[in-house]
């Protein structure tokens, strides 16, 4: 099915990109503004718990992806049902990511260009990369992530003249219930999304390092997101809450002399590459999962049709970005929880109860 292998460090970086991509554009800021760093930490903790559950599952069934595990644990019919639902979740994840990024482009930079021009070109490159396999995706991710991290850390220095630490005061201006709700939201988006890597963990060179690699990736993503939150909150202040894309707005404020002004295009394009990686990983995971679901020998012929379906889903994702925001804030936590937490947890419990996997010689 997949011949390539990735190293644990590459997996860490893939997890980082996957978490950061939408997190950078829709930072967990809404409603909690200057306390967002708290919710971020909350989300990180929750994301690690989620990761622990499914990595335990993957370690229990070495060499199997989540799709195969569901089938082993629940039997062919219920397992397939669960797998189809799970695949839909990943599929829509990818569609959502590309929809958000294309909306970002069409609402900020290219206001005149029709959406489908972006989505079609996007999908073509994504399909091309996807067909090359996980090894190449991991390699392409390396320089892109490096540039993004450099850019965000560098921006921290570029905005020093606009940075106002008072924007963070008062420090704990949030009730516990608000914090819990916002934190819950942050767990499911973006940190809980790493459930996708349950389909990629078997292709790791050092399988036993999978868990630590994923957790390191989550930590790294949290760190980068934290810096971007610092920039956004510190530069924009309370006013920032009215903006649709606060991070974009913060980068827009950069002004050093007469030369370094209006630089927002560069980070936008850079976040775009992150979104591209995220969409590609999702597309890869869906293709692989579908191929395993149907017991195919290769996932490659499925990439193109699934890519087009993803393109259509991205088109039919939301009529306007407001709907998407509402979705992420109000519905996403409940929508995502079954796939991110309940299903793996249930599988783990059933697997423990049924004493699976059956070890050799125990039959």
């Amino acid at each position: 099915m997949e011949e390539g292998k990735i190293s644990s460090f590459q997996l860490t970086r893939l997890v980082m990109s996957f978490m950061m991509a939408t997190g950078l554009i829709f930072p967990p800021l809404r409603g909690v503004w200057q306390d967002s760093w708290l919710t971020l930490l909350f989300g990180l903790a929750g994301g690690i718990v989620f990761a622990l559950i499914y990595t335990t599952l993957c370690l229990r069934f070495p060499g199997q992806t989540l799709i195969e595990i569901y089938e082993t644990v629940f039997g062919p019919i219920i397992g397939k049902l669960f797998s189809v639902a799970f695949l839909w979740y990943i599929f829509y994840l990818g569609a959502q990511a590309s929809a958000i990024f294309i909306t970002l482009l069409t609402t900020t930079v290219f206001t005149m260009t029709p959406r489908y021009v972006f989505s079609i070109t996007w999908i073509i490159v994504s399909v091309y990369l996807c067909k090359k396999g996980i090894e190449v995706i991991a390699r392409v991710n390396e320089p892109l992530l490096l540039v993004t991290v450099f850019l965000i850390v560098g921006t921290l220095f570029l905005v020093l003249n606009l940075f106002d630490p008072e924007n963070f005061l008062p420090l704990w201006n949030i009730s516990l219930s608000e914090l819990l709700w916002a934190g819950f939201g942050t767990i499911t988006f973006p940190f809980g999304l790493n459930i996708v890597f349950g389909l990629i963990l078997p292709f790791l060179q050092q399988r036993e390092q999978g868990r630590s690699a994923v957790i390191k990736g989550l930590g790294g993503a949290a760190l980068v997101l934290l810096i971007s939150l610092l920039i956004t909150v510190g530069v924009l202040g309370e006013v920032g809450e009215i903006f649709l894309f606060p991070t974009y707005q913060a980068f827009r404020m950069i002004q050093i002399g007469q030369v370094l002004t209006r630089l927002e295009l560069i980070p936008t394009l850079n976040f775009l590459t992150m979104g591209f990686i995220k969409g590609t990983i999702a597309l890869y995971a869906v293709s692989l999962g579908t191929a395993q679901l149907c017991k195919l020998l290769t996932y490659r012929p499925l990439v193109f049709p699934l890519g087009i379906l993803m393109l259509i889903a991205a088109h039919q994702s939301h009529p306007n970005i407001g709907v998407s925001l509402e979705m992420i804030e109000r519905v996403q936590p409940f929508y995502a929880l079954p796939f991110q937490l309940l299903l793996p947890l249930l599988t783990l419990l059933v697997a423990v109860f049924r004493r699976l996997p059956v070890k050799e010689g125990q039959t």
Binding site: V125, V136, R139, V140, R262, L263, L265, L269, T273
Partner: protein, 544 residues
């Protein structure tokens, strides 16, 4: 259509012309019959000379030598064959046994290479390689005498890879000279050459060279296998081989390296690569090839390491400019004017004012014109070529701007791109394709188009492998230790290891720290052989 092509390809694969070897082509005892055999095989071409004479030992024996005029060395044929056999053989007093050829081989012919052979086809092959064949009456075998003419143009510095400092020799068209040049660079007896013949009609001799123990056996085996798989009738240049054995035959990026310099070839062999020499061409293929090789100039290792690092970074910058600048220019001027600082924007707007075409067309057209001028200049004789360049570059460039057809910034951008594209000569071909397509993408989709094009290129590059080695390594996948010769050029004494992706079999070049120059030279008291031993000595002193 694709299926049609596939079918064609399949046909091409199965179509094998099997050369029909003669059922029995061994020589006979009658010399006239043997000569007739040669005549039948070689035809009546005037450059094939059959010289008959009589060998006078105890009795007179009819003899003949056959050679191809021009391929053989006249002097050797006279000194080593004709003179001893015709003049000195008379004075021979030693008894001749029944093995006449063996006797001649051992006692009479003072040539370096001698061989007995009784079948026609190897004899003909040797003949066409420049050897001389000696036939004797009553002998069903012949002697092959090495009389190859090694006269060739002198080894001179290749025009394509010029260095400021460093050796001035370059490979020539003769295989033996080239292998000798390499032997002179690498004294290690484990430098191995393996020879084979490729091309049914050209019968080109191809030699694989590698250093045993450093080169990865699997890579050598792979090179051998791929070369053996070639079934074509002509190999005229190294590129013929390159296209047959490249990993990604459709990729515009070269996945087989090449050089005309013995020092470069030697350095690559000592990093664990394999070289493939092709007779009759000065270009030597080396593999596996990395993308980064294009940026590693031999001069980097002949100058101070700080300067070399600096120059290497300039080279990276130039490469970036060469394929990105036109696209950026188009995107900035047509879509993202806000990124340009205001004063610059004003002066650029003034220059662009009144030109009739969109920026994309200007850039692409001027780029194409430049390539045409370059192509015209390259193919013509040198003095005319220079004239063409001057006319093209100065006159057209100047006139086009003053006529108001093209904006002056466009000409500046295209000229700058043109100059920078020559900084990294081996990636120049891909530079043209990349440059033009990115510019067109930028014209359609602005910066998004550039990013998309770059992502596509990156995906393609990241998927490439050259003989099992990732093409972009050591940058992607990242290997921090190997950046010593990529991000910087560390001092040579600090290059402790070979590049890991290629030379991991025998990674150690020199012991860690041992060969560092003595830092205490100024102190002068005692010159320790190395820092390590100095530390040890100090520690011992302390103990005392």
């Amino acid at each position: 259509m694709i299926r049609f092509l596939l079918r064609k390809l399949r046909l091409a694969r199965h179509y094998k012309e099997i050369p029909t070897p003669l059922a029995d082509d061994s020589l006979q005892k009658n010399i006239e019959k043997n000569i007739a055999l040669f005549r039948a095989e070689l035809g009546e071409s005037p450059d094939i000379v059959i010289r008959r004479f009589t060998l006078k030992l105890k009795k007179e024996i009819k003899a003949a030598i056959i050679f191809v005029e021009g391929l053989m060395d006249q002097q050797v044929v006279y000194d080593c064959i004709l003179r001893p056999l015709m003049l000195e053989a008379k004075k021979e007093t030693r008894p001749v046994g029944p093995d006449l050829l063996g006797f001649i081989q051992e006692n009479l012919i003072p040539a370096a290479g001698l061989e007995q052979e009784n079948r026609l086809s190897p004899l003909v092959a040797a003949l066409l390689g420049g050897d001389t064949v000696l036939l004797l009456e009553g002998q069903a075998a012949a002697l092959i005498i090495n009389t190859k003419n090694r006269e060739n143009r002198a080894s001179e510095e290749p025009d394509t890879e010029v260095t400021i400092l460093g050796p001035r020799d370059g490979f020539t068209e003769d295989l033996r000279t080239n292998t000798a040049l390499l032997r002179r660079k690498i004294g290690d007896p484990r430098l191995v050459f393996e020879q084979m013949m490729i091309g049914r009609r050209t019968r080109t001799i191809v030699a694989i060279a590698y250093v045993q123990g450093i080169a990865n056996e699997k890579v050598v085996e792979e090179v051998r296998a791929r070369l053996k798989r070639i079934n074509t009738d002509m190999i005229l240049d190294a590129n013929y081989l390159r296209e047959f054995i490249a990993d990604a035959p459709f990729s515009p990026f070269p996945t087989v390296g090449f050089t005309e310099r013995p020092d470069v070839a030697a350095a690559r062999l000592l990093e664990g690569r394999v070289a493939v020499f092709t007779d009759t061409t000065p270009v030597v293929n080396t593999m596996p090839a990395l993308f980064i090789e294009a940026f590693q100039n031999p001069d980097d290792y002949n100058t101070h390491f700080l300067y070399a690092t600096f120059i290497r970074w300039l080279r990276y910058l130039a490469f970036l400019i060469s394929f990105l600048l036109p696209a950026l220019f188009v995107a900035l001027t047509t879509y993202h004017q806000e990124l340009i600082p205001t004063p610059l924007l004003i002066s650029m707007a003034a220059a662009v004012e009144g030109t009739p075409f969109p920026m994309v067309i200007e850039v692409v057209a001027m780029g194409a014109i430049f390539e045409i001028i370059r192509e015209a200049g390259v193919r013509l004789a040198r003095p005319i070529g220079q004239t063409i360049s001057i006319v093209g570059a100065l006159v057209i460039g100047e006139a086009v701007v003053s006529a108001g057809l093209v904006a002056a910034p466009t000409v500046i951008v295209v000229a700058l791109t043109a100059i920078t594209s020559f900084v990294v000569p081996t990636q120049q071909e891909i530079g043209i394709i990349l440059r033009l397509s990115l510019a067109v993408l930028a014209g359609i989709l602005g910066a998004y188009g550039i990013i998309l094009g770059l992502l596509f290129t990156l995906s393609h590059l990241a998927s490439l492998r050259s003989f099992g080695v990732p093409y972009l390594s050591p940058v992607i996948p990242l290997n921090i230790g190997d950046l010593k010769d990529v991000a910087v050029r560390v001092p040579l004494w600090a290059m402790w290891t070979r590049p890991r992706v290629i030379g991991w079999h025998e990674p150690r070049r020199q012991n860690f720290g041992e060969s560092a120059p003595p830092s205490s030279a100024v102190e002068g008291a005692d010159l320790p052989a190395s820092r390590k031993s100095k530390g040890n000595k100090e520690r011992e002193n302390l103990k005392k």
